[in-house]
């Protein structure tokens, strides 16, 4: 079958499934100004977070790279960076690193002598860009311009049995049609690292996933004197991970993405994520995903600020948060379910609002890899 969708063609080879003007704060100190600009100009989204100053090393780099990634995301038509002025994460540093494939500008509260001036200036830039964005039309595009994120949230055995094979088939079909697919590798899937490693050709990448299956490894810095130990996974966790791994389909795994890394090749990738939904969706958005499938048996109470998030749930007697579910897996055969799900996904990519978008629920957050100072 030949799939296509209607999106906004971008110069970098990708496509917007949405066409927002992003107002991006470089640091928490400019977030109120960013919100104010965004409130005043429809068609914009406020990309605000709690980071941007008093950060070091990898922790700082992650913040910077995720903001570069968000500004470059194909769903963002143009990006206005708003800084304070004295922060670690300087707007000039971001501007230098963001690829010049779309309109990008930076302004700062201290340079413009206060919030009021900055809001005025920001509104005028944003209004020009939203006008340009509205004039742009959706055109039919191939799946090679899609990067689909897949996030599994709080699944139990029962729902994994229902969702796993269907999502796996969806992954295979998307990849066969040249889409990029990025699946979250969270602590529930990490125990299946050995199993998944067999599908990775590159030895360095294979090492990474085998290593993550050895136990939960996360940084802790409260007391630097005590070394954090890895927690080994339990039998139950291994069993559930094996079930969850069905969601990855059968295509080769290209590698494990980290720290807002953007996949260069077409195909199936995995991404290190946490069990925090907002952090994980934000990482996917920063890596260039333009749509996300959230697989959950409960319905997730927020989406991404920049990406349409389509919620998939298995049919259950008591369906929690019905108003959040976009697609219910009803237990038909795998072919039929995946056909319908891809159809729904491509409709969303072509502009159909997801339930989370209707409810206007979307957040952005940047994780920490070290203490602030």
């Amino acid at each position: 079958m030949n799939y296509s969708f209607k999106g906004y063609k971008r110069d970098d080879g990708m496509a917007g499934t949405r066409n927002y003007v992003g107002i991006v704060s470089s640091v928490i100190c400019s977030s109120a100004v960013v919100r104010e600009i965004s409130d005043k100009v429809s068609g914009t989204i406020p990309i605000v977070h709690a980071n941007g100053c008093a950060q070091l090393g990898d922790d700082f780099k992650l913040t910077r790279d995720m903001l570069i990634g968000m500004s470059s995301n194909p769903n963002i038509h143009s990006a206005l960076l708003v800084g304070l002025g004295c922060e670690t994460n300087q707007v000039s540093g971001l501007l230098k690193r963001i690829p010049k494939t779309k309109p990008i500008k930076g302004i700062g509260i201290q340079q413009l002598y206060g919030g009021t001036n900055t809001i005025q200036k920001g509104i005028s830039i944003a209004e020009t860009w939203t006008k340009e964005a509205t004039e742009q039309k959706r055109i039919p595009l191939p799946l090679s311009r899609l990067m689909v994120g897949i996030l599994n949230v709080d699944a139990d055995q029962d729902s994994l049995i229902k969702t796993g094979p269907v999502i796996g088939e969806v992954v295979d079909r998307l990849v066969e049609n040249d889409a990029k697919v990025v699946m979250g590798l969270s602590k529930t899937l990490e125990p299946a690292g050995h199993l998944l490693s067999e599908r990775i050709v590159d030895t360095t990448e294979r090492e990474k996933i085998i290593n993550s299956s050895k136990g939960l490894q996360r940084l802790r810095w409260k007391d630097p004197a005590t070394v954090a130990k890895d927690t080994e996974f339990t039998e139950e966790e291994l069993k559930l991970a094996a079930l969850e791994s069905k969601m990855t389909g059968s295509v080769p795994i290209k590698g494990i993405l980290d720290y807002g890394e953007i996949p260069k090749e077409i195909g199936f990738h995995m991404m290190n994520i946490s069990s925090n939904v907002v952090e994980s969706l934000s990482k996917m958005a920063s890596s260039g995903c333009n749509v996300v499938l959230i697989v959950s048996n409960r319905g997730v109470l927020t989406g991404s600020i920049a990406l349409p998030c389509l919620t998939v749930a298995p049919q259950r007697d008591e369906n929690s948060f019905d108003e959040l579910i976009d697609y219910t897996i009803k237990g038909r055969n795998v072919d039929e379910e995946s056909d319908r799900m891809i159809e729904e996904l491509l409709e969303v990519c072509s502009g159909k609002q997801t339930q989370l978008e209707v409810l206007e629920l979307g957040e952005f957050s940047i994780p920490h890899l070290g203490t602030t100072y």
């Binding site: 100053c53 008093a54 950060q55 304070l84 996360r218 997730v300």
Partner: protein, 385 residues
């Protein structure tokens, strides 16, 4: 005797504001928290992205901070939004209720639809907001005030004008029986000996030196130098050259009073007088800790001009130089730059700060309140699981 008009709470504390807030326990609910606050004009959303899949050190710190914020004297009523079976909201609410606070929790789960939850929340908030409008103020002594001392966007003038003036104020309010909390452990690095020498006893002295040392170790453990992030780029263009220099200026906010106690992030002082809270130098996270620890007002000196505030406490901005006041008056409450170009003394600005604190305690709106600067973020201690 210096007094102000405040809002007396059942547990005996006194607030300088009478806010009704809605607060999320997990980041996933931040959007719904804002949505609910929008349904009831006047209600303040306190939102953050912490609370989910955290190690115990972080979840403890999150709960402590949220409980301190909801049970704060400036808060008349607080609604918690939580989700799932292990959510801390109900536990926090139960503890706060015992202390007489007006708090309530709504847990998003299978039994109720989102709309039902929002409807219940809206009704509770409307009722509490109405109640808050009926509450009368009463006269209180300044000894009941806890003032947080903070700086952000410092320049070379900070340690010469604004910070020593804050120090004069701090000594005065301590002499009047009140409490001031100095914070930002990283900005004590290089100046720790001065504060340690002022400790009331050996135990407080040791504890203080220990928290400073631990912060330096945290940086070294990941192969980084704390001095690489501090001073920040803006501090450097403002004329600060080293962390030691910044620190020596930073601690001037603490005046010359005896250091009575060293407390953990978001914990409340157990004694009156001059105390130190272990917080990062990151101003927003530090202010959140100070306020969660009970500070009704925060003094915040700035040389470069920082607009940040707090969702529940008035933050008073003290500008360090005349040029800043000329360029960004909208973000400055007290101009300590007058020491440079108008022959004011540090003592005079210290007195002006004290008068401003009393006016703000009586209800005068600060710059950060006027512009809705309600930044809120909790200091993290580990990566998310």
């Amino acid at each position: 005797m210096k007094t102000f008009e405040g809002y007396r709470r059942t547990n005996g504390t006194i607030g300088v504001r009478n806010h009704t807030i809605v607060i999320n326990t997990v980041g996933e609910l931040a959007g719904l928290t804002k949505k609910l606050a929008n349904l009831v004009p006047g209600v303040i959303p306190v939102v953050h992205q912490a609370g989910q899949s955290q190690y115990y050190e972080d979840s403890d710190q999150t709960i402590k901070t949220l409980a301190g914020t909801a049970g704060h004297p400036n808060v008349c009523a607080a609604l918690f939004l939580g989700m799932g079976t292990e959510d801390p909201a109900e536990g926090i609410v139960e503890t706060l209720k015992k202390d007489g606070h007006h708090v309530h929790s709504i847990i998003f789960d299978k039994d109720k639809s989102i709309n039902e939850c929002l409807k219940e929340g809206k009704a509770w908030l409307e009722n509490e907001l109405e109640r808050s409008k009926q509450q009368k103020t009463e006269k209180a002594d300044v000894s009941e005030l806890i003032i947080g001392l903070e700086c952000g966007g410092s320049d070379a003038w900070s340690g010469i004008t604004a910070n020593p003036s804050i120090g004069v104020f701090s000594d005065s309010i301590v002499a009047d029986g009140g409490t001031s909390i100095l914070a930002e452990t990283t900005e004590a690095v290089g100046a720790e000996h001065i504060l340690a020498n002022r400790a009331v006893n050996q135990e407080v002295c040791n504890r203080f030196l220990e928290i400073v040392k631990r912060y330096e170790q945290r940086a070294r453990a990941v192969g980084e130098d704390i001095k690489a992030a501090n001073p920040s780029p803006g501090n450097k263009t403002g004329g600060l050259t080293t962390l030691e220099e910044k620190s020596l200026g930073c601690i001037k906010k603490g005046g010359n009073s005896t250091l009575m106690e060293v407390i953990d992030y978001a914990h409340s002082p157990t004694v009156n007088g001059f105390v130190f809270m272990d917080t990062p130098g990151y101003d927003v996270e530090s202010v959140v800790g100070l306020v969660a620890g009970g500070a009704q007002i925060v003094l915040f000196s700035t040389g470069k001009g920082s607009p940040t505030g707090s969702p529940i406490a008035p933050v008073i901005k003290i500008g360090t130089n005349p040029k800043l006041y000329e360029n960004m008056p909208e973000h400055i409450d007290v101009n300590a730059g007058k020491i440079i170009d108008q022959n004011y003394t540090i003592e005079q600005i210290g007195e002006e700060i004290y008068s401003k604190v009393l006016e703000v305690a009586n209800g005068e709106i600060t710059a950060s309140e006027k512009y809705n600067n309600q930044e809120f973020s909790i200091w993290r201690l580990a990566e998310t699981q």
